[in-house]
């Protein structure tokens, strides 16, 4: 039993690392614009399907898909921003419905182009076992975890050191004051959507190298990303990682101790519990949830 639990904790940790990468883009946009991009999961999925096409049609590995995925997903993410920025009234409610609509478009576009079949990588190298003492995982799981940590570090560096990163933080803390300091809020918001697109592209390519994908999966990814954002509280990169690991571990333990059918339930229950008990998330700034 102890070994099973240790394995569950390890799998949950690795799974959490991958969830963190999926959640970062959503959390960044939510942190800067207070907009939940309900199409975020579909953007991740789009990148995954591009990786699938590169592999099945051209015989190239997931890494080769990254440049293509970056271009396509960043264009898609920028389009989401351009549409959202055209909302005239009731931005909070209408942006939710708008991005929900974009999610519906993307899901069906993916269905149209790639059909409803479940896809996964055929690379045996990625699916080979990676053994760490008594603990097992797939090579791709460890790779994904590493990519996730690297992207998180990159994002942290970008937000704290680069001009645009600091502009993004300035706009998110006080839009009017940032404007007075010569920052163009519109352009800054566009930049944060593009960075979210970069994160989604990497997450999608990694997702394909790691698990199965299907067109309807995008919405589930968005929900997971939002759960993690809520767990993290707004505006904390380490929070996203910890929230993601918490979700991954809760799911893995549910699978080990109860049944795989209840895996989703664990995430939802955790989400509702944190919403009600700790409305500002585990690591977030106070007083923002209303």
């Amino acid at each position: 039993m102890g070994e099973l639990i240790a394995q569950a904790l390890y799998s949950g940790l690795l799974q959490g690392g991958s969830y963190a990468l999926i959640a970062l883009g959503l959390a960044l946009v939510f942190g800067t614009m207070r907009i939940i991009n309900l199409a975020h999961g579909e953007l991740v999925l789009l990148a995954a399907y591009i990786a699938y096409t590169m592999e099945s049609k051209l015989g190239l590995g997931p890494v080769a898909a990254i440049p293509v995925a970056l271009v396509v997903v960043c264009v898609a993410s920028s389009t989401v921003y351009l549409l959202v920025s055209r909302i005239r009234e009731d931005r909070e409610i209408n942006s939710l419905i708008l991005t929900f609509g974009i999610g519906v478009i993307l899901t069906n576009l993916i269905l149209l182009v790639w059909s409803a079949d479940v896809r996964s990588t055929s690379s045996s190298w990625l699916q080979e076992a990676f053994v760490l003492g008594p603990l097992y995982s797939m090579r791709s799981e460890v790779l994904f975890f590493g990519v996730s940590l690297a992207m998180m570090g990159g994002l942290w560096w970008w937000l704290s050191r680069s001009w645009y990163g600091r502009a993004v933080r300035a706009v998110s803390s006080n839009r009017d004051a940032a404007k007075l300091m010569g920052i163009d809020p519109g352009r800054t918001e566009l930049v944060s959507f593009i960075v979210a697109g970069v994160l989604a592209a990497f997450a999608g390519v990694a997702l394909f190298s790691y698990g199965v994908i299907q067109p309807a999966y995008g919405a589930a990814l968005t929900v997971k990303a939002f759960i993690i954002t809520v767990l993290a509280g707004v505006g904390s990169i380490p929070g996203v990682l910890l929230g993601a690991v918490l979700l991954g571990v809760a799911e893995a333990l549910t699978v080990t101790l109860a049944s795989s059918a209840l895996q989703e339930l664990a995430g939802m229950a955790l989400f509702l519990l944190v919403l009600f008990v700790m409305p500002n998330g585990l690591f977030g700034a106070a007083g923002r949830r209303g």
Binding site: I87, L98, A261
Partner: protein, 310 residues
């Protein structure tokens, strides 16, 4: 104005089956559009009077459908009483969601979505009662009343139409009552209305229950109409997507809007887009939603009336 619009719309709803009732396929589409219209009306009531966007109305549709199907099938409840039971079941399910009312905006929208997921998982896992993933079959049809067989498509349509009509007028009464006025004042400023003595949480809770009841009855109606239920269908995303598209398209701040929107959106989707793009035709619905939010977020009806706004 609104009363006339509702009456005209319902008149059209009565005429349509009399003209097209001989075509079974078209009639089945019209009944489906009516169900979606009823759910859209329930969604719009919560959005309009409660100021809340729900991505979880599939929970109410599903719970209503299962409640009525199981009570009529296993406890021998008459089908028409089952419809009421379905609504009550959905409202009871909504009681479990009351803590969500403390949340606003995206938090509310996604918390209610999480609930819908939980109900779907429960319906799948609690197989001794619900039949699990295999579903429930042989759900009783609508009965023969006064020599008229309501088990036919046209018969079921008129039962559904009666329900939706009752809902539309109940909605109208609620909106015109002083509760409705208080709720509309709440849109302006929730804090201000609270200061003058309106219990906003209680009012929002009431709207959630009414909306859940309506969606539950529509779910129950649909279960008796199609006679078969499975979790993937009863709690399907289509019960979220289509009512939202219909309500936004027609105008969710009006009462006739969601009903009109459902008829137009669903029929055009099924008759035109589905034949043009067999898989992925809902792409067009997403595009419609995006276009409406940008160009006329209050829907088609206000646009037609010329109340265009910036």
């Amino acid at each position: 104005m609104n009363r006339i619009a509702i009456a005209a719309l319902l008149g059209a709803y009565v005429l349509v089956p009399l003209l097209l009732g001989s075509n079974n396929y078209v009639m089945s589409l019209i009944v489906a559009a009516l169900v979606i219209g009823g759910v859209a009306l329930a969604w719009a009531l919560l959005g309009n009077l409660g100021g809340m966007v729900s991505f979880g109305h599939s929970a109410f549709v599903g719970v209503g459908a299962y409640t009525s199907a199981l009570l009529t099938l296993k406890a021998g409840l008459p089908v028409l009483a089952g419809l009421l039971a379905g609504g009550i079941g959905a409202a009871v399910a909504a009681l479990a969601m009351l803590p969500v009312l403390r949340l606003r905006g995206p938090y509310f929208a996604l918390a209610i979505l999480a609930y819908a997921h939980i109900f779907k998982i429960l319906a799948t896992e609690w197989s001794t009662v619900t039949g699990g993933a295999g579903g429930v079959s042989n759900i009783p049809s609508f009965p023969v009343l006064a020599g008229v067989d309501f088990g036919t498509k046209t018969g079921a349509y008129f039962i559904g139409l009666t329900i939706v009509t009752l809902f539309a007028f109940a909605y109208q009464r609620i909106r015109a009552s002083h509760y409705g006025i208080a709720l509309r004042a709440m849109h302006g400023s929730e804090d201000a209305t609270r200061v003058v003595g309106v219990n906003s949480t209680l009012l929002k809770a009431a709207m959630l229950l009414v909306s859940a009841f309506m969606a539950g009855v529509m779910g129950a109606f649909n279960a008796h109409y199609i006679n078969f239920l499975e979790p993937d269908y009863a709690f399907a995303g289509l019960w979220v997507t289509l009512p939202i598209v219909a309500a936004i398209f027609g105008g969710y701040r009006t009462i006739a809007g969601p009903l009109l929107g459902a008829m137009v959106v669903y029929l055009v989707d099924q008759l035109v887009f589905k034949s043009l793009i067999p898989t992925g035709h809902q792409l067009v619905l997403g595009a419609l939603l995006v276009a409406m939010i940008i160009f006329s977020p209050r829907g088609l009806l206000p646009l037609l009336r010329g109340k265009k706004h910036a």
